[in-house]
């Protein structure tokens, strides 16, 4: 750790020139830093934070940090503080939903230090003045690329800059891509953050290049691994499916910009998201089929990935699951199926995937069954290469004893995710165990005679797979036979409706294929042409099982394996890292890429050899940084990739994309610098209409209010801070009072209460009856409840596509009221609540205007009353208003996810959910309750339903 010439007497850990440069720049002025991935952004941030921390007497807020980053910053600050022995350093305090008490937070803020605060809490605290913006020394923003004009963070900066013009604000990002989409995106982003200067550090920056390409370069060996024929076949078939899907998409949606919609871009990382974004403006106008295909693309791309990552058996298993999930519900027509399932290529995928695992032989076997299945068990080609590389390293170590250096001599294997980690660990553990060899396996490690192979592993996997498949057939039957029973049951309400529709006659309904028996082994197709899930004949399965049955040697192997596993019970072992003793001295560490965390891995493991099992551009840079940072550590990198595979293309395109993005940014910065220099601190900049209103109207903030009338005030439910509306209301010079509301989302006046629904919310809340219940409670407490139907800024302003305009008598028949379109539900709602007013707003900006107008002549709402509304007798507004001070607590909130899950359980109603949550701690507790216990809370009948739901065993419960 070299102490640089930093302005503060603190010890820094920034060994490379460009890092020190950047650090000094940051100490001097506010700027937006975009650093190429892998160049050590987090290290820079922690050093910067430490330099402030050591000085003491600060209140610094870190915005937009993830949990992992918080943990890292916290650790790094403590470490720094210990190294430089700065007495004033206090480390990091993380404020998230766990710290909810207003009093505690207030005390913490008063003490100062470095805080990382969840945006939703921060905005509420700033609004309620719990954290006075004027007392903040500065803000650090991570992931600056995610900040758009309507985001919560932009709202935070606005509040901050309104009251505090001297505090610093520095933004960081390691993802240049988002800064290049749209019209002058960099300038817009910087305006959102009130920043004037952008500092760009691509990998090809002169200083970066100089620092990394000195004489201390890492030795890299590239190994191109060929895919097996069947893998290539599957890959081609999947690509074909992707092409079919894209073709269908194009056919369905003419008039969109579709030049980019081709196979090439389908391989880049977020093609499916790109398609979705393009369809977004009229997402509810696009046909059901298009949505389905957009979803399919995600699935297909996932398959491309798992083809390379998973072993043959797991891949087949995944295909089975995918297929089951995409199977149409019985009784539906062929339209509801994904088009790719109809293609020949889909057949190839399923067929070839199966043949990689086992194949059927026509000739008479020793058991003279006519058809018998033989395990094939193709191994992943990379496995063998990995074994070879390990062997080479081994030999290397033996013949040329290592030059003494600081490295550990450890071998680090990096792969994409923990799944692959596990797979590799299993492979390495078992690669020398031979299934069913004539001799007993005595010497486990004897590379001369014993070529490593995954046979043992694959056989074990196949056994598990066959077991799984047997159960899965049953699960399938249990899950989907219900539908069939329901369909044929006379009590089912859907039946008359189905007949009423006059569509297909009942006997056309497709038969469900659930059971394992009786279905031919050749992949057949449903009557409608889609692929039927393949289930083997039971006797064939039995054959296959006997073929790979645990033989004595296998059992011996298993014993041997246990011994190895025992030997590896290393104290270092934890959930993420799998250590295994390989050569009694050397350690093989298998680790998954984890973004910035990889730096820690390198520093801790100090590997001498690195095997990159899958390519990753940022990790290469991390190795470069690591190598350049340490004079005395030699690293050799083996780089494995499948030649001609999607993996390779994806890697190359990601490198190219980043480079392009930086080039674009540099160009934009060059042309915009003049504009930004005239802008002193952003706030005075008359950027958009709402910012202007702040300056003219709220100039004195709340202080002016006492002189004149009360400023317009809106009470907002804290959960609503996820949307952009509060920010826009604030922009329209309204005072936002965040509260925990039980009734309504926005309280505009003592009489007006607004429930906001986006179109998708509207649909879902009609479906589960939430909206009806919400309207009921609003009418209990307010005179003028309003329903706000808010459309998205970028989406079309119309509900027409939701209408069933067939004009037939049947569709307006009250018997199937609400079954069809959104319009009929709105009609029912207004009929049920004739006094409910509906506000139609084409965007959140419009909503803000409408709100202003609605409350123009009304009195201001009372936050305390708003919080009280809807709370039952004797329920204190514990989470709502903090009495005494009038400050309102926002952070304490229900755990929405857990409650929502509970709400989905049959038997749980909006009424009895309170009883359950009062008594039980979490979902797990409810799931483990028995009828008696639950019965006390919700009544016997409901309790029975709940318990049955959780207990239902899909493996055993199958009947019929």
């Amino acid at each position: 750790m070299s102490a640089s010439s930093a302005p503060q007497p603190v010890k820094l850990s920034l060994p490379l020139v460009y890092q020190q440069k950047l650090f000094e720049e940051l100490r001097k002025e506010d700027e937006l830093v975009i650093l190429a991935r892998g160049l050590g952004l987090m290290r820079l941030i922690t050093n910067l934070l430490h330099s402030y921390d050591a000085a003491g007497n600060n209140l610094i807020v870190v915005v937009n940090a993830e949990d992992r980053e918080n943990a890292w910053i916290g650790e790094a600050l403590a470490e720094h503080a210990a190294i430089s022995m700065s007495p004033k350093a206090r480390g990091l305090t993380v404020v998230n939903t766990d710290f909810t008490s207003v009093g505690t937070r207030e005390k913490m803020y008063a003490q100062g230090g470095i805080f990382s605060i969840t945006s939703r809490i921060l905005v509420v605290d700033l609004l309620t003045n719990l954290l006075n913006p004027e007392t903040i020394t500065g803000m650090l923003v991570l992931h600056a690329d995610r900040i758009v004009a309507t985001s919560l963070e932009a709202f935070i900066f606005r509040i901050y800059r309104q009251k505090n013009k001297v505090g610093f604000l520095k933004a960081f990002s390691d993802n240049p891509d988002p800064f290049t989409v749209g019209f002058s995106p960099l300038a817009t982003m910087m305006r959102n953050m009130f920043l004037r200067k952008a500092s760009l550090w691509p990998r090809f920056h002169v200083q970066v290049a100089q620092s990394l390409e000195g004489k201390k370069k890492a030795e890299v060996i590239e190994l191109e691994v060929p895919m097996t024929d069947s893998m290539r076949e599957i890959q081609t078939a999947i690509m074909e499916c992707v092409e079919i899907s894209i073709h269908e998409l194009k056919k369905e949606n003419t008039g969109l910009e579709m030049e980019d919609w081709n196979l090439d871009s389908a391989l880049t990382r977020n093609f499916d998201r790109m398609v979705r974004r393009q369809l977004e403006p009229n997402w509810h106008r696009v046909s059901w089929k298009t949505k389905q295909i957009a979803g399919d693309l995600t699935v297909l791309r996932g398959m491309l990935q798992s083809l390379l990552a998973l072993d043959a058996v797991s891949f087949l298993q995944q295909l089975d699951t995918i297929h089951a999930a995409h199977k149409p519900a019985p009784g539906t027509t062929r339209q509801t199926e994904s088009p790719w399932l109809f293609s020949d290529a889909a057949q190839t995928i399923f067929e070839t995937a199966r043949q990689r695992v086992y194949s059927s032989k026509q000739k008479a076997g020793p058991n003279s069954t006519i058809e018998s299945l033989k395990p094939v068990l193709e191994e992943q080609p990379k496995w063998a290469v990995l074994a070879d590389v390990l062997e080479e390293i081994d030999r290397d170590l033996y013949f040329e004893p290592a030059v003494r250096d600081d490295s550990n001599g450890t071998i680090l294997v990096m792969c994409a995710d923990t799944d692959t980690c596990r797979q590799l660990r299993d492979y390495l553990q078992t690669m020398h165990i031979r299934p069913r060899t004539a001799k007993k396996v005595e010497e486990v490690y004897d590379p001369e005679e014993d070529r490593p192979s995954g046979a043992f592993l694959m056989r074990r996997k196949l056994r598990n797979y066959l077991n799984w498949k047997r159960e899965f057939a049953q699960v399938n039957a249990t899950l989907f036979s219900e539908n069939q029973k329901a369909l044929s049951g006379a009590v089912d309400p859907r039946l008359p409706q189905a007949r009423g529709r006059g569509g297909a006659p009942a006997n056309k309904r497709r038969r469900v294929r659930g059971g394992g028996g009786g279905v031919g082994s050749n992949p057949s197709r449903h009557e409608n042409g889609s692929i039927v899930q393949h289930f083997e004949k039971p006797n064939e399965v039995a054959d296959l099982m006997s073929e790979i049955q645990i033989t004595e040697d296998d059992a011996g192997g298993q014993a041997a394996e246990e011994i190895i596993t025992f030997a590896t019970a290393d104290p270092l072992e934890d959930m993420d890292d799998y250590y295994q003793l390989y050569d009694m001295q050397d350690l093989v560490v298998i680790h998954a890429y984890e973004g910035d965390q990889d730096e820690h891995v390198l520093e801790e493991v100090k590997p001498k050899y690195i095997i990159m099992y899958e390519p990753d551009a940022s990790f290469i840079r991390r190795v470069e940084v690591y190598r350049s940072s340490h004079n005395d550590r030699n690293v050799r990198v083996y780089f494995l990739y499948y030649g001609g595979s999607v993996e390779e293309q994806r890697y190359l395109s990601s490198v190219r994309r980043e480079k392009d993005a930086f080039t674009k940014l540099i160009r934009e910065r060059a042309s915009m610098s003049i504009v930004m220099t005239t802008d002193s601190h952003g706030v005075e900049d008359p950027e958009s209409a709402f910012l202007r209103t702040i300056n003219t109207r709220i100039a004195g903030g709340g202080k002016l209010a006492k002189a004149t009338a009360q400023p317009p005030r809106v009470v907002v439910d804290v959960r609503e801070f996820r949307s952009s509306l509060p920010s826009l209301l604030h922009g329209r010079s309204m005072v936002i009072v965040p509260c925990m509301l039980t009734v309504g989302d926005y309280i505009l006046s003592p009489n007006i209460c607004v429930e906001r629904k986006s179109v998708s919310d509207l649909i879902s809340s009609f479906k589960d009856g939430r909206l009806y219940a919400q309207c009921e409670t609003m009418f209990q407490h307010y005179r003028n409840p309003m329903l706000l139907i808010e459309f998205d800024q970028n989406k079309s302003f119309t509900l027409e596509p939701f209408a069933d305009l067939s004009g037939s008598l049947r569709s307006v028949n009250p018997e199937n009221a609400g079954a069809n379109d959104l319009q009929s539900k709105i009609v029912l709602l207004t009929l049920a609540f004739p006094k409910l007013r509906i506000i139609w707003s084409s965007s959140p900006y419009e909503t803000a205007e409408i709100f202003e107008r609605l409350k123009a002549l009304e009195e201001e709402p009372d936050p305390v009353a708003a919080v009280r509304a809807g709370l039952g007798e004797g329920e204190s507004p514990e989470d709502g208003v903090n009495e005494g001070k009038g400050a309102v607590n926002g952070g304490s909130t229900f755990n929405m996810e857990a409650q929502e899950m509970l709400g989905k359980v049959p038997g749980v109603t909006p009424k009895n959910i309170r009883n359950i949550t009062a008594e039980a701690e979490n979902v797990r507790e409810v799931a483990n309750m028995e009828v008696e216990e639950l019965g006390r809370l919700v009544g016997r009948e409901a309790a029975g339903k709940i318990v049955e739901f959780f207990k239902k065993d899909v493996l055993e419960d199958y009947s019929g």
């Binding site: 995944q318 799944d419 302003f797 009250p814 509906i838 139609w840 409650q899 739901f949």
Partner: protein
């Protein structure tokens, strides 16, 4: 053969004011009968429901028109007074803001439609739902176990339908799948489920372990 009393309940047909003659909406009313009648509103859709029709194009030319019409409606006769507004101009923002305010002051419910067909559909729906119950929007539980199970498991955002089926088929029942999250090797066992990566495992754990109410 209308009975004398049927007039007030308007029978089974929509009553239309002669003012609406020539409105393309009338041509699109197909599944319900309608007849002209001398009424203060434009349409009578039931004993307690009436509607005024407003095209924003017209509104732009005669902004005062609609207020006169609203005033003419008898306050007490109709429980639900609908202002059926046809959005047929591109810059609809300003008139809609105004109508939102109007709806609050004058007790009318604004319903927007974007075509004559849609307008006609609303009229038909109001008429045919005159006596319908609101049960359709009071929420229907999913009826089959598979649907309910998928709904339940997919609450955490990262978990999808495929994952839900994989989860339950691995652990047999939901109770097992929930309990496994807390076991010592739970993360690994969950991670072994087909398609369940680290992120999904974490969010599943958080969802089933997370307390219903955040502690202070």
């Amino acid at each position: 053969q209308a009975l004398p009393g049927a007039r007030s309940s308007s029978g089974s047909s929509i009553l239309v004011s002669p003012r609406q003659k020539g409105n393309p909406v009338l041509a699109s009313i197909k599944s319900t009968a309608w007849e002209y009648s001398d009424i203060p509103a434009d349409y009578v859709l039931g004993t307690t429901t009436c509607a005024l029709f407003l095209s924003l194009k017209y509104h732009r030319l005669h902004p005062e028109y609609i207020y006169t019409r609203i005033r003419l409606l008898q306050q007490n006769r109709y429980n639900l007074r609908i202002l059926l507004t046809l959005v047929d101009i591109p810059n609809h923002e300003e008139p809609l803001r105004e109508l939102s305010k109007t709806s609050l002051v004058n007790n009318v419910t604004v319903i927007l439609c974007w075509s004559a067909q849609e307008a006609a559909r609303y009229l038909e729906l109001y008429k045919s739902y005159e006596h319908a119950s609101a049960s359709a929007i009071r929420g229907q539980q999913k009826t089959t176990y598979a649907e309910q199970m998928v709904e339940f498991v997919t609450v955490p955002r990262s978990v999808n339908k495929t994952d839900a089926i994989a989860l339950v088929s691995t652990f047999g029942s939901l109770r097992n799948a929930i309990n496994v999250a807390t076991e010592a090797n739970g993360e690994e066992r969950l991670g072994n489920v087909q398609g369940w990566g680290e992120k999904k495992v974490k969010s599943w754990r958080r969802a089933v372990e997370g307390s219903f109410r955040v502690r202070k």
